[in-house]
Symmetry: C2
Amino acid sequence: MKLSFTKSAIFIALLFGMKAQAQQASWIWYPGDLDIWVSNKMQNRRTERGAFLPPFWKMDSHYVLVEFHKEFNLASAEEVSLYVEGQYNVKVDGQAFPGYPTKITVPAGKHKLSLKVYGQDKVPAIYVKGKNIVSDGTWLATFEDKEWIDASGKASDKSGTTYVSAGSWNLTDPLQLPSQFKLSTKPLEAAKTEPLDKGLVADFGRETFGFIKLHGLKGKGRLHIYYGESREEALSAGHCETLDLLEIDLKGKTDSVIGLSKAFRYVNCQPEGNVTLDKVSMLYEYAPVLEKGNFRCSDEQVNKIYDVARYTFHLNTREFFIDGIKRDRWVWSGDAYQSYLMNYYSFNESPIVKRTLLAQRGKDPVTAHINTIMDYSFYWFLGIYDYYQYSGDRKFVQDVYPRMKSLMDYVLNRRNKDGLLEWMPGDWIFIDWADKLSKDGEVSFEQLLFCRSLETMALCAAMANDTEAAATYKKLAAELKDKLFKLYWNESKQALVHSRINGQPTDNVTRYANMFGIFFDYFTPQQKQGVKQHVLMNDKINKITTPYMRFYELEALCAMGEQSYVLKQMKDYWGGMLDLGATSFWEEYNPDKKGAEHLSMYGRPFGKSLCHAWGASPIYLLGKYYLGIKPLTAGYETYLVEPALGGLEWMEGKVPTPGGEISLYCSKQEIRVKSDGGSGVLRFKSTVKPVVKGGAAVEVGKRTYELKLQKGIAYKVNYQK
Amino acid sequence: MKLSFTKSAIFIALLFGMKAQAQQASWIWYPGDLDIWVSNKMQNRRTERGAFLPPFWKMDSHYVLVEFHKEFNLASAEEVSLYVEGQYNVKVDGQAFPGYPTKITVPAGKHKLSLKVYGQDKVPAIYVKGKNIVSDGTWLATFEDKEWIDASGKASDKSGTTYVSAGSWNLTDPLQLPSQFKLSTKPLEAAKTEPLDKGLVADFGRETFGFIKLHGLKGKGRLHIYYGESREEALSAGHCETLDLLEIDLKGKTDSVIGLSKAFRYVNCQPEGNVTLDKVSMLYEYAPVLEKGNFRCSDEQVNKIYDVARYTFHLNTREFFIDGIKRDRWVWSGDAYQSYLMNYYSFNESPIVKRTLLAQRGKDPVTAHINTIMDYSFYWFLGIYDYYQYSGDRKFVQDVYPRMKSLMDYVLNRRNKDGLLEWMPGDWIFIDWADKLSKDGEVSFEQLLFCRSLETMALCAAMANDTEAAATYKKLAAELKDKLFKLYWNESKQALVHSRINGQPTDNVTRYANMFGIFFDYFTPQQKQGVKQHVLMNDKINKITTPYMRFYELEALCAMGEQSYVLKQMKDYWGGMLDLGATSFWEEYNPDKKGAEHLSMYGRPFGKSLCHAWGASPIYLLGKYYLGIKPLTAGYETYLVEPALGGLEWMEGKVPTPGGEISLYCSKQEIRVKSDGGSGVLRFKSTVKPVVKGGAAVEVGKRTYELKLQKGIAYKVNYQK
């Protein structure tokens, strides 16, 4: 035992040594601050018919004065380069260098290097690079030094300072300042341009996003630019949602790029006076993410749905996960929650998940729900634990936990006398865009999300070593779960009813609480079947008309093995949009509507967003419930592969994981699977005894087999569906 | 009755009409935000030997997204000019104008004008000017709109938005942007310049503050500038507290102004290379305040003390009331509290008081005491009520009350099991700069300030119509007062002891709690006499060596009628500094020290500030306890004039009040008094029956007379002291 312990210790030391050598310097700041700052910038880019349209909720700001430090033990003195955004000082062991040095020498031995930075307009940020001394997330940061001195100048030996790990996005170029962070661009030509009136209409072939470039602009007068996700919108000078009005006074032909990027497929340029222009092109603006996940199958319509969903999702994956590119260009928590899940099956970009979560949460004090919406506070909690499951990033949970706690304090303080949540001044109870959806009394859907959030808090508190709170949250969750079944479960309707008003459960059954109850696994097997039959597959229950809630509806059905039914729904619903010419998926789609009705929302003829992140859920459903790949423990350390063809002849795809990727091919006779990391289980049904290359399948139930998967091995299974 | 009511109504309407006409547009912002923003800027101007030295406490920031609105009822349409700092939209009745208009027309009738402004780098601020529509403190502001819509675009009829009165400093010039706010400057020449080594030393004749101007600068090389409040400091290249190092490369002679203003009397310029310069002058930087208060008397030394105190105070009256002009240039609450009181007897600048209070308090959440110092939180509460007493500005108390409440919540949450306050991690218990002053256990001084703060909270809660909280605070204060006498009053020592350690009162008697107990009026008449004899006038009790605590020590003695004794002390202590050549009053003065010892502090040879606001207390003592003028009810609605010559042959002076000024002349035979507003009482003792011009004196006690004072009447009393 002793020997093996020593060995491990050496091994760990070597690992750490390697890690330190491989470490790269990156820009750091107070955690969450650049997230908030950049999101403020992004969310204040919305315009509506030329007027600035900022969010209505509180926007926080960064800490303007931040101290960063780390202790280093150097074998020899080293020169360190300093890059700083803000006004700053640099100290070694508390002794300041005069001025604003860009290079210092840190002597050999154990020394504390600290920088204190003031930045009102920009986030205080530093980039420090020596041979061993590099700035990264292992540095500590604080926004207040609780230190003091006596009259002799001696500092107190008692400090009350709270230090946290510095924030970082892995920005490793010292000359790329965090305040200059921006997305990539590339030039794109219009697919087609046609003259119209005195101007022209350019069609970029599909929904897109970027900066319009005007070529050969000349003359004196005005130029109106009307943007449209649809041709109808671009041609509607009086009702298109976004527009630009330029005052032109150019003697010679000039090319000019419009400073604010926008969403469109069609651009209608209408000059006044003697203004002319040759053509328009664009600088496509995009997040430079890799498409790590993939899905292909025997059904070309499903492949098209997958491609358009992935494009829709890419367009809405920007500095943060936003709701829609035409409007609102904001970070809505309920929308982003779905984007996180889609992301795990496509780009798997952890930085964007973390930054969106931090941006949404902002700073204390909590004065409202996230985006002011009660349900949106709950999705925020859930998103953090999901992120942990998919990434294995325990440190993020620990770092964000204090902000989880203060948000949950806010929620707990708003319980009514029965311990339930109902509307209070300032709350928006959203649920979904649906006509005549009652928000009165205590809505079961909100209690369900509240309960799941408490369970999440218990898990995260434990990870943050707050065991006392973990126990409290666990107890609160159990009590609430018990209560909500007592209050809302209606045995004769085999459903959770929608709400309780004046202390009485209503008769109203909606899909919301019931479908969440399925994949939260809150129901007994019997209740599950009851809900499926009486609610989910019951046409008399009000239909859902947003992809937003169709996401969960279909997820619930998939979780119960209804992949064949869901595939048909998917083809109908998303295929329905494609049939109407969609080049990206919409904010809302009601098959009962006709023609231009599909473009209107919020009482405005072109109010609807035709490229909405929540429209892209097939990415998630196909990866998680058809390829059937999901983590069983955090970061795919263990995982399950349980393919379900749902009527397809064959499918293949890959899912990104922290350790690499898991790739799968599945037909009715053959399964091939390979993973770059973790320990997996392939579970499948076969009417015959399967033949396995690479391992051995074990029969674990009636015609059900399991094959243990090790990393790096290409397994091939011949079976019979 | 009916008639008179109608008359009044007409009269009120006329008054309002007049007021509306007289109303001036001013820049407005979210209350407290410009205060915080400008104070961040100011407090980050400190340097120490060339290194940036920012505060150690948390610096807050402004709300980056703010909505402003007001409803107007217009007889006819009017054109309104808009000036905005930030990115904005403008709406009339919720309907946005496109773009960023600088002029709009508001139609006749009742309309709501709103602007929403985003400013990350600068405080969102607006200036709106029409004939009737003007921006001012009557506008409402919010940092979050708790409004939401349904799928039809209809806004909810239930709002949870909290609106507060907009903040304003009465900046009435639309072209003077709030973010450009700065103090005034004027050129000043050095009193004397002498050559030294390769350079020169300029002596500006007395302590001063501003931007150094270098005349006829030429050559290539470096120029060192060493600043000194004393000649010794300016000549100590290695130890002066502030310095500049310039890289010069100038072919022809050039004049140049250094960008960062500093404190100095002496400036030592030492060139390297072939750099030469002809001379230095300065741009004196100052707050353009009027010296509304005054004091003159038969003792020329006292007059000199008053003048130097007023100059000291003016130098430290800047964007905010700061502690000292060499260092720290920060807003310390304990220091500022004394400045407020001095201000009421000199400049009477309400805006600087309010802005300092708001800057200190910053934003929620409260994470530390103000400046991290426990006593400094308490002075902050006290300062607000004092401000109300002297200004009558009830609205400010109401506006700031929520921030008072959250700070008091923080304090209340830090009580120990006995309901007392003792050191906790993060607390700095300051009291005073004094050797071996124990901060262990529960210090009586802190409980006393805590108790006074609770009393203050009770008064302010009542003003803010929070009657429930008012009752709670009142009860808490009464309980604490009772407790502190039980715990700390030592009958045999006739004093409150300094502290309680491990549940046991110590034997240690210090002046602090005892002198505050006097002017808080916490003692019985007997206890007062005991404290006076056994503590305040007892040389065996450790002496106070800072003007900071001498302020309260002398105030306590004045409050007990010891003006003659205090005058001698004042002449000794402040006269002692003058005898040593002081041109402004110091941070600390211990008459027992010698020579250069007077310049050192905090273990640094020139660490002491020779121009510290708290050195200026004679302004306050002479006004309040010699002229004897003070408000009895808020804003001098009623006031007392109770002159005390304290051994002087005569004195004269004036005290500014919200209604104008109160002027007084008093010799041993004659008193002349006149006030511009309020109802006053002149109280004086006379051995003969006084002869009064302008009114009639009433004998109210043994040889004590009172004369009622009405505004505008010049009273003259002949009497015999």
